[in-house]
């Protein structure tokens, strides 16, 4: 015990030192802004207080900020992919998605979870920060039953829960002086400051959207989302083997360099990563009522 306490104290010191580095960066930025007359010394003090009070940089974004970022990320995705105009399919996706969200470790977000089918054969899905989730017809076609689709949605909810989208924002955005000023202000930003802050906003959207559409998350974040999906599925009684079934279907339709083929680990690698969590799960049962409603809602997809 005696040995443990100094170790904890040392850890606390290291943590404090880490915060200190952020402090310094923020103070340098704010000092420059005060000198330039962009902000008052009291504004600088407020900003520096925040920087010292927070650990990770992206923690400076509130759930409210996350919501407004997510809306624009979603709108940007809908520039490329058109919504699938099928009320029954979209309603079913929202009910099932809500079930998975409520069973997850983050049941509520600032603006709630909302789901939409995208009208494309490409295998793809996007989770915008805050809970706007898009799933392509192509990905739904990889699902032969509700348990499989529940796995897809639980995986996307996990990206929101684990804030993977926000984590893809480049650190350089947070070091931008316009960010430092804007993140603390908002309504009281003047014309020029607001214009500069809007440019930072555009950069932030670009970081997230390009990660979602082009570069993808790291393999480990995808495996984390699969692992969280298995947990969520178990809580409501879906067989997590549905996720494996879906990945097997996806393997047959896999196109490298397109959709998930561009942004995700291969289905085989994902199956390998979750396999230990699926021991003893057996075949995915298809209770009559569950299968009937899945087939009815997804008939046209």
């Amino acid at each position: 015990m005696k040995r443990l306490i100094p170790a904890i104290a040392a850890t606390a010191l290291v943590l404090a030192a880490g915060c200190k580095l952020l402090d310094t960066a923020s103070q340098v930025a704010t000092t420059g802004l005060v000198a330039a007359g962009a902000i008052t010394p009291s504004q600088a003090e407020g900003i520096n207080k925040t920087a010292s009070a927070t650990g990770k940089l992206f923690d400076r974004l509130t759930p409210e900020n996350e919501y407004w970022i997510g809306r624009s990320v979603g709108a940007s995705i809908l520039q490329t992919y058109k919504p699938y105009n099928n009320e029954a399919a979209n309603h079913y996706l929202n009910v099932l998605g809500q079930v998975m969200a409520l069973a997850s470790d983050r049941p509520e977000t600032f603006g709630g979870y909302h789901f939409l089918v995208l009208d494309t054969d490409e295998i793809n899905a996007f989770a915008a920060p805050g809970g706007l989730i898009f799933v392509s017809r192509g990905l739904i076609k990889c699902c032969k039953d509700e348990d499989s689709l529940a796995g897809v949605l639980a995986h996307e909810v996990a990206h929101v829960q684990l804030m993977h989208g926000l984590k893809s924002i480049k650190t350089s955005r947070f070091k931008d002086a316009a960010f430092t000023v804007g993140i603390e202000a908002g309504k009281n930003l003047g014309g020029e400051q607001l214009a500069q802050f809007t440019t930072v906003f555009e950069g932030t959207l670009n970081d997230i959207t390009s990660t979602l559409v082009d570069s993808g998350y790291s393999r480990s974040l995808e495996f984390d989302a699969d692992a969280a999906a298995v947990t969520t599925m178990n809580r409501v009684g879906y067989n997590p083997a549905g996720l494996r079934e879906m990945l097997k279907q996806m393997e047959a339709l896999w196109k490298p360099g397109k959709g998930f083929g561009k942004t995700h680990p291969t289905p085989a690698d994902r199956i390998k990563a979750i396999d230990s969590k699926l021991k003893g799960t057996g075949e995915v049962a298809k209770p009559a009522g569950r299968q009937a409603r899945f087939q009815k809602a997804m008939a046209g997809v």
């Binding site: 925040t50 009684g237 569950r290």
Partner: protein, 164 residues
């Protein structure tokens, strides 16, 4: 003596590290609208609805859910811990100086940073980006009763609470 001091310093460091000192008895709602439920489960009945910035008194915490009492003391129930923050959330008054209103470790300013105001600017710069479907999506809401029927009809489990 030195050993005792080290122990005390160690305990203090531990308490700071685990946030014990910072976690007051009150917490704020940090989702736009949140539900307080009868059980620590997202599928149990809703006993009260709370909104962004509301202060709640913490009774206990269990597996990702926090038992709270509302400010008017009338309702006690469970809300997702992820919907709460230790910070006090204050609304930004229009035209208020950011220096006096700026966030600190204990206070978060609502309506700061990336908000509707910034979205408006962004829309003005990119008139070609259509937000109508996003507006439609965020308005949709599935009722608790529909979710319960969906679980029952599908032969699924209704988590009784303590989901983690």
């Amino acid at each position: 003596m030195t050993s005792r001091l080290t122990t005390i310093a160690g305990i203090v460091a531990l308490l700071i590290a685990t946030g014990t000192f910072a976690s007051g008895r009150e917490m704020s709602v940090e989702v736009g609208s949140g539900d307080i439920r009868s059980q620590p489960s997202g599928f149990s009945s809703v006993v009260a609805s709370v909104k962004y910035g509301d202060r709640l008194t913490v009774v206990e915490e269990k597996g990702g859910w926090t038992k709270v009492t509302t400010a008017d003391q009338k309702t006690t129930g469970w809300i997702a811990t992820s919907s709460l923050t230790k910070k006090r959330i204050v609304l930004a008054a229009a035209g208020k100086d950011a220096g006096t209103g700026a966030s600190s470790g204990e206070v978060a300013l609502a309506g700061k940073g990336f908000t509707e105001e910034v979205e408006k600017q962004y829309k003005a710069k990119h008139a070609n980006i259509d937000f109508s479907m996003i507006d439609k999506m965020v308005k949709s809401k599935i009722s608790n009763s529909e979710l319960l029927t969906f679980l029952k009809d599908g032969g699924l489990k209704i988590p009784e609470g303590g989901a983690k």
